[in-house]
């Protein structure tokens, strides 16, 4: 059964401008797949809906999230102190497909493969757990991450990646430009790409991978109601091959996603 748990804040630190990292102790989280998210239920009673936040990292007894303060909910979160309670769901969504169970192309065995995790801004956090899992599966992992100005999670990614390429919009750190431009210019090659970030970036990466005919997974974001598939609030459009040719169908981002294959997403719809 899925559940809403009450966890304890282990730490909640600002790691960059407006960016916070919170570690939450919570047993009973169950199996966690990279790319899954949790719903955070707020205390402010004027705000009813949960806030979906990607799992950045996890161990037996805790999960770590990294979030940006953009409104009242994340503002509330940023004020939580060590040992305060936080209500959080067990993992939601499918996460990245790296278990070789779904979709023929993927395999559980990443030995000898090179993969690149591509994160943009607040899409960087889920890349940490993903890089770790991919490394555990034997892949050689590269990270290509882009920020507006101030990079974060570079060190964490460094633990699991052989190389961490950083881009910033204004060039204050690393490459000047976005992560996909950097991949092109630095010719960062891989057998597979995994990504989370702004839609424009995901699309650019998807186009890049299509050109090269390399598999690519992207994590989409959509405004959510329930976060668990009950309200049909969060659909995106995907291309589905049917007997009559390709059909545009709708998929719940929270339930069928948030991760989709780049080629599957109907970017223009």
């Amino acid at each position: 059964m899925k559940k809403i748990l009450t966890g304890n804040v282990i730490c909640n630190d600002q790691i960059a401008n407006d960016i916070y990292k919170m570690q939450i102790s919570s047993s009973h989280m169950g199996t966690i797949r990279a790319g899954q998210f949790v719903n955070i239920y707020l205390e402010d009673k004027s705000l009813l809906l949960p806030r979906p936040i990607s799992i950045c990292d996890a161990d037996e007894n805790s999960i770590t999230i990294v979030y940006k303060v953009v409104g009242k909910g994340t503002k509330e979160l940023s004020a939580y102190k060590t040992n305060e309670k936080v209500r959080v769901s067990t993992p939601l969504g499918n996460g990245y497909f790296i278990d070789g169970k779904k979709f023929g192309g993927q395999t559980d065995d990443y030995k000898g493969k090179t993969v690149t995790v591509v994160g943009g801004g607040i899409g960087v956090p889920p890349m940490v757990l993903l890089a770790r899992k991919l490394k555990e599966k034997g892949a050689q992992v590269t990270a290509a991450i882009g920020f507006q100005e101030e990079p974060f999670l570079v060190e964490e990614l460094g633990k699991y990646c052989s190389e961490v390429y950083v881009a910033t919009d204004n060039g204050t750190s690393g490459f000047q430009g976005n992560a996909v431009q950097m991949i092109r210019e630095k010719n960062i090659c891989s057998d597979e790409y995994f990504s989370c970030g702004p839609k424009v970036m995901l699309r650019a990466l998807s186009d890049f991978c299509a050109e090269k005919d390399i598999p690519c997974q992207v994590s989409l974001e959509e405004r959510m109601g329930c976060g668990y598939g009950a309200c049909v609030g969060c659909t995106c459009k995907v291309k589905v091959k049917t007997e009559q040719g390709t059909e545009i169908q709708q998929r719940g981002v929270c339930k069928h996603g948030p991760v989709f294959f780049g080629e599957e997403v109907a970017w223009d719809e």
Partner: protein, 300 residues
Amino acid sequence: MDLSVDFAGVTLKNPVTTASGTFSARESGEFYDINELGAVITKGVASEPWAGNPTPRIAETYGGMLNAVGLQNPGAVAFIEQEISYLKDFDTRIIANVAGRTIEEYCSVVEMLNETDVAMMEINISCPNVKKGGIGFGTDPRMAAEVTKAVKAISRKPIIIKLTPNVTDITEIAKAVEAEGADGVSLINTLLGMKIDTQRKKPVLANIMGGLSGPAVKPVAVRMVYQVRRAVNIPIMGLGGIMTGEDAAEFIMAGADIISVGTAALVNPTAPVDILQELKLYMQEQGFKTIADIRGAFNA
């Protein structure tokens, strides 16, 4: 304590149901045991698949939310195959919520559902009537009566008409559908609302307007249940902002026979069963033995 209720000729083991559009059999069932509920009400289903509205479809408001899902649904054939066939093995009643843009569309869904395990059908007359320029069927007593008459003529299951609160006098609509043989009414559907993002300077919803639900609207819902209870004799399903067992009792005092939990299930996935537990606790504290006792204790 006996929580069972008779509603439009069907016995429910308790008065707690799930509001249409906020319950999905498999997904909600991952959080709690569906068998505990008096009935489940499924998402609006039309004769053919509907794509619904573009995203964003959801906005949060003070103590409430707006949705403009636009009745996205896979059509009755797929719905019966996927949802009803799954739900029929649970020990709970199935109430199917029916959408349509013409009377013919409503009737076609009702005919298909006649053959299934649904216990009743709830007709959502808030849908825009495409033949009348998109005006909601539910805002005009004559149109509401027409839909009711047409579906009653062919339905082999009890028919509940779901009323919209966006009207000057909801009792007029309730009386009109009662006169055409509706077996019950449910209220309220969402209030029409809108939210503007003052940072982005545009409406939050792609559809501009959407339906307001949640605890913010509860006083309007309770008032309407109270008014309708005094206007018609058919049973009432009450909903709109129910978040706790006492909220459920409030609707029953106002005149509801059974209640539905909608937005609360997004705020807290186990809300329907939690509310059922709280209702039992409240009854215990008050020494109420039956649902009828709750209503009986009320004096205005």
